[in-house]
Structure formats: C-alpha cells, structure tokens
C-alpha cells in the first residue's frame, strides 16, 4: 500500500530551543563538528487505496491545515510506494 511521508520543520527564522538542547547534548557527549541541529516531526500515512491526485491533494490540505502551522512551520510531502 502506498505510504505518504510528511516532514514538518520549524521555519529557519523560528528559534528551535529543542534542537538547541540536542546540540548541547552532542557537545556534552563529546561529538564535535556539528554546526546546528533542528528538530521536526515526521508523519507516515498509509493509504488504503491508490495514491490518486485527489488523495494526495487531500493530504496536502491536511499537511497545511492540521499537521503544520504555516505561521511557524513548513512541510514537505512525498509519496513512497
């Protein structure tokens, strides 16, 4: 069954304190050479039918209205067969 993956990330200009905390942990754990960490969300959506244009359009709408907040976040949607 086709799977649709939606990645949601805070926009670059929005402060990401969680990513910054992870970055701090890297340093404490002796991992260097990392310039930045940003934390986001990944949604894996399994369709029960074909990935039709209509089904994908519905998921784009959900990604924009529900899964992300366009004020602070952007999303990337892709179909993985």
């Amino acid at each position: 069954m086709p799977r649709v993956v939606v990645d949601v990330m805070l926009k670059p200009e929005i402060l990401d304190p969680q990513g910054r905390a992870v970055m701090g942990a890297f340093t404490r754990l002796g991992v260097h050479g990392v310039a930045d960490v940003r934390q986001g969300k990944r949604f894996e959506i399994t369709l029960d039918g074909d990935a039709t244009d209509e089904a994908i359009a519905d998921l784009h709408r959900m990604a924009e209205e529900l899964l992300s907040n366009p004020v602070i976040e952007s999303y990337d949607l892709r179909v993985e067969e």
Partner: protein, 225 residues
C-alpha cells in the same frame, strides 16, 4: 450576562474561569467541546490547560472541535472571546489572532507570579484597567513564547493591539515581551498569564485578574468602566 467557559478534554482551568466569572458578577455557563451549541452566551472564555494532551501542537486539535466551529464563526461576527494560555494557543491556531505560541526559549515549564503592564484598555476584556496599569497574576506555561514575523509584530504595535506586556522578566522568550494581544475590534483577546487565578486574596497573589471578567460583565450591563 452569560459567559460561556469551554471544557475540552484536558482543560484544567475551566472551573477557575467559571468562578472568576461568577465573582465578577456574571453568570458562567459550561460549554462542551463536542457540542456546537453556545447555549445563548454573550461571551466565551477558552480556558487554560492541555486540550487534547497538547498532541501535535498546543491547540491544534482543539481548533477543529465542534464548539470551535461555532465560536470561530460567532467571533467573526463580534462575539467577545478571551483565550487564556491554552485558550490563547487555540485562538492563534484558529487564526482568530495572528502569530503562534512556541516552546519556552529556556525549555523549562515556568510557574511564577508575573508582573504585566496593561497597554490596550478599550477591549471587551480590559476596560476595567487603566492604560499603563501594572498588575501581578500567575503565569504557568511550557509553550508560551509568542512569535510572529516582523511585519506582524510591527502591525500589532503600530495599531495598538498589544494588550499586555511582560515586565521585569520575560518568562518564555516572547518577542517584544508580548503577553497578550487583541483583534482590531477589541472583542477577541489572547493572554498567556492567568487572570482567573488572581481573583481572591486567599488563593492568588492579588485580585488583579478580576478586571478581565469585570470588563466583560460591564460591557453587557452598560455600566461605565
């Protein structure tokens, strides 16, 4: 004066909000998230808490509750709505107010008695205050950092839509120390700190919060603020 207080799954401060309405001389009416009937109320409070467990984003799922469909429509027609903390988050997610609330910049949950300066005092919820008046009410949030793009922030300041600003300490990284904002008409107000927890000297740091509820009651009884 009937003021509805919405209970979502995960709301915490609905009872305190209803109590504050009663102490202000209003008649609190409980509204249920799954019911699209506002039961004839004159105004609505969206209380604090963790609606739907804060899953996805704070307020993101509450926005689509049946009661919110009606509230969003009626708010557009002028129904006064006060969103406190999680209620503020819901108002932003509903696009009734601009911007968004994000994780506190220091990542810790913060709970403190917070000093604020009241800046817009002609709204349905702030008429009982004097412009520039300083108040102290509780603040408790994990995701209370107010963010918006520079153009939106400039418009909020230029149009005088900032209702309250943090004084002494910026507790959560909110841009330009913004604690609360309003729509241009002054009917919709979102506030991160909790006025409903500062309405009685026995349990609050002050009774400074009562003014929000008195303001709403007065606007409907026609008394001068």
């Amino acid at each position: 004066m009937k003021i509805g207080v919405v209970t979502f799954p995960g709301s915490l401060d609905d009872r305190d909000a209803a109590r504050a309405v009663r102490l202000a001389g209003g008649d609190p009416v409980s509204l249920w998230h799954g019911d699209d009937d506002l039961r004839g109320v004159d105004a609505v409070v969206l209380p604090g808490g963790f609606s739907y467990g804060d899953y996805l984003r704070c307020g993101a799922i509450a926005r689509f509750a049946p009661v919110m469909t009606t509230i969003i429509q009626r708010a557009g027609e002028g129904l006064p709505v006060l969103g406190i903390c999680n209620g503020f988050q819901i108002l932003c997610e509903s696009h009734l107010l601009p911007g968004a609330l994000t994780r506190n910049d220091h990542l810790h949950f913060v709970c403190r008695d917070q000093r604020l300066r009241m800046e817009r005092t002609d709204t349905a919820w702030t008429k009982a205050y004097a412009e520039g008046e300083e108040i102290v009410i509780p603040l408790k949030n994990g995701e209370g950092g107010y963010v918006a793009d520079d153009a939106t922030l400039d418009r909020l300041e230029g149009d005088g839509l900032v209702v309250a600003r943090y004084l002494e300490v910026n507790p959560n990284g909110s841009l330009r120390d913004i604690a609360g904002i309003s729509n241009p008409a002054g009917t919709i107000v979102g506030l991160m700190p909790h006025p409903e927890h500062a309405v009685e000297s026995l349990t609050g740091p002050s009774t400074d919060g009562l003014g929000f509820f008195v303001s709403a009651v007065r606007s409907f009884t026609g008394a001068n603020a």
